[in-house]
């Protein structure tokens, strides 16, 4: 076992990505209970909020059970060493309406994301958080869709705005390990700030991809307890904790408490834990945002079409995160095409 492995920052996204898995119905009781467990497990950050981040509670994506500031306050009260983070997508979240409230609520880290080609829309949000003296990272979502060269160019923009870390999200669960190695390696070698990876489980590769990222130079890794996240879920934190220990990476995780947090999550969110099925597999193959799983199933059932067809058509259109409204259009279009043409 090597003793010179680097220190890894582990981000627990259970109470943010998991929002997608339970149609945004996370309660304050669940937040309090899980935040305690995350703190005990020693994760560096706990991310809380709507699945698409601040200001994303909407008819478009789904409305949160609890207002976001109450969610943040509930988590804040339970955390001491584990720091509180939020996801932020300009286009949903504004500085005036959402960032200022989250700053006042004591959020430690703002992870400001955009679709992987649109980093310049994060400039004002990133600068605002930096000016307020808090930590801010840049997040490139749906990063399977473009080359490592484009990712580096966009990551450099975020770095120039003040981002202190860059996370590549495999929002669709579409990566295989060789791609992770190439892209994370390219960024880790060229950026001045640490690089992270956020995996999804659609093709069953979340842990393999997370490990590939670490071996390629990532110093930040995301996961969720029991994989509680969009689509087929994320890299399960209890498995990440075990693999990190097995490979000798230095972390602040307490393994037993990380395992306990997973058990607690399974109890708290029983009935909503993600499962791998034909729909999540097709979603990963088609390269569509994992958060679309539930709305696609709902629309497909109402309109009498195959949800897998909806995913492949959304993939063909290169739909990005936030475009949930197109699900209804695509499903309606498929339903119309499926109707027998009237004979004269």
């Amino acid at each position: 076992m090597s003793t010179d492995q680097p220190t890894i920052t582990v981000c627990d996204a259970t109470l943010r990505d998991g929002s997608h898995a339970c149609s945004h119905q996370i309660s304050l009781e669940q937040i309090r209970a899980y935040a305690k467990a995350s703190e005990a497990a020693g994760f560096d950050y706990l991310e809380v909020g709507h699945g698409n981040g601040l200001g994303a509670s909407s008819l478009q994506v789904g409305e949160s059970l609890v207002p976001e500031l109450e969610m943040l306050a509930a988590a804040r009260a339970e955390l001491k060493h584990t720091r509180l983070s939020v996801h932020v997508m300009p286009g949903f979240a504004t500085i005036e309406r959402e960032l200022k409230g989250a700053l006042a609520a004591g959020v430690d880290l703002f992870r400001v994301g955009s679709h992987c080609t649109e980093a310049d829309i994060t400039q004002r949000h990133i600068s605002h958080v930096r000016a307020a003296g808090r930590h801010v990272w840049g997040v490139l979502m749906m990063s399977h869709m473009v080359s490592k060269e484009v990712l580096l160019q966009e990551a450099r923009k975020m770095q120039s705005y003040g981002a202190q870390g860059i996370v590549l999200m495999d929002s669709a669960g579409a990566y295989v390990p060789a791609e992770v190695t190439a892209k994370v390696g390219h960024l880790a070698a060229a950026l001045e700030v640490p690089v992270g990876f956020h995996a999804h489980q659609n093709l069953g590769l979340s842990i393999a991809n997370s490990l590939a990222a670490l071996e390629a130079g990532a110093r930040i890794v995301d996961g969720t307890a029991r994989g509680f996240g969009a689509g087929a879920g994320n890299a399960p934190l209890e498995l990440l904790a075990a693999v990190l220990q097995r490979q000798g990476y230095v972390t602040s995780i307490d393994l037993y408490h990380a395992l306990d947090a997973a058990e607690l999550c399974a109890k708290l969110f029983a009935g909503s834990l993600p499962v791998s099925n034909g729909i999540t597999i097709v979603s990963g193959l088609a390269g569509v945002f994992s958060g679309f799983a539930k709305p696609v199933q709902r629309a497909a059932a109402q309109l009498g079409v195959d949800p897998r067809d909806v995913f492949f058509e959304l993939g063909r259109r290169k739909v990005v995160g936030g475009q949930e409204d197109l699900i209804l259009e695509v499903a309606s279009e498929l339903a119309r095409r499926a109707q027998p043409t009237p004979t004269p």
Partner: protein, 291 residues
């Protein structure tokens, strides 16, 4: 002797201003007296010169020098600039059609309130998403009173979003929300904008969603169809692609806007619709003066 055209000037020679110029040149009711910006060698200014349009690099001063020879000015500069321009245009007795989010004058969405705006000295064209969504939202709330929450979601091609749009995303969202609220009276409104980099570029699409348990779907569909027809008179590429339907406690309707492809590419329906709205207002002013 044909129709007496209204003399107008265009302030700002970027993409929006230059596309407006092409639309003015095609109009039976408008005559471009001056195309004014800051840089004679900009692509827009070059295009204007090639089209034999009088140009000036002296901005608003060039327009004000024309004194009584211009009646209406399209301002396609920036919100900060329009705040400075507005009082000077007003003092000179010029009607201002503001394409920036400055919100100095009355909000104008031609399909909804053209007649009410016709005597205003300054009208603001809200935002592209506002021009696309407010008429739908207005039709929906008229038929279904008591809606307390409305959303407008627009997706546009990344290439149609210039540097100004990107840096002003928050202002876009808040101006669109303000417009939705003003025109529908709905207490809570929300706007969302998605940029999609897909190639070939995607056309602008806008979805309006309302939280309502049991809408009058038949009347909603009729009201929305009538509204779409009204908009198509000045935005030919405006198409209803999802008839009002209910799903998961939401009433949803969706449109796609194909641009005219004048100076900007056809996928940039977001830029086309706000320009078409500005032209519709100016032509209404011209018709009224002629009558």
């Amino acid at each position: 002797m044909g129709v007496k055209k209204l003399n107008v000037a265009i302030l700002g020679t970027g993409n929006i201003g230059t596309d407006l110029l092409i639309k003015v040149l095609r109009s039976e009711w408008l005559n471009c007296r001056l195309f004014a910006g800051r840089n004679l060698s900009s692509p827009g200014m070059t295009k204007g010169s090639l089209l034999n349009v009088p140009v000036s690099a002296r901005g608003i001063d060039g327009i004000l020098d024309l004194k009584g020879d211009v009646a209406l000015v399209f301002d396609a500069t920036s919100a900060e600039d329009h705040v400075r321009h507005a009082p000077r245009l007003r003092a000179a007795g010029l009607i201002a059609v503001d394409l920036t989010p400055a919100k100095v004058g009355r909000l104008c969405v031609p399909a909804v309130n053209l007649a009410d705006c016709i005597d205003e000295p300054n009208v603001n064209m809200v935002t592209c998403g506002g021009q696309a969504s407010i008429p739908l939202a207005q039709a929906i709330t008229r038929v279904n009173p008591g809606i307390t929450y409305l959303e407008s979601v627009s997706s546009i091609a990344s290439r149609s979003a210039g540097a100004a749009t990107r840096i002003n995303l928050d202002e876009y969202l808040m101006t669109t929300e303000h417009g939705l609220h003003e025109f529908t009276g709905c207490p809570r409104t929300k706007a969302i904008l998605n940029l999609n980099p897909a190639q070939p570029c995607v056309h602008m699409q806008t979805t309006v969603m309302a939280r309502i348990a049991s809408p009058d779907l038949a009347r909603t569909r009729a009201a929305v169809a009538a509204m779409v027809e009204a908009i198509r008179r000045y935005v030919p590429g405006y198409q209803l692609i999802l008839e009002p339907m209910t799903e998961n406690g939401r009433l949803v309707a969706m449109v796609r806007v194909e641009g005219l492809g004048d100076y900007l590419p056809r996928y940039a329906g977001n830029l086309d619709i706000i320009n078409c709205a500005a032209i519709a207002f100016a032509e209404a002013v011209a018709r009224r003066r002629h009558a």
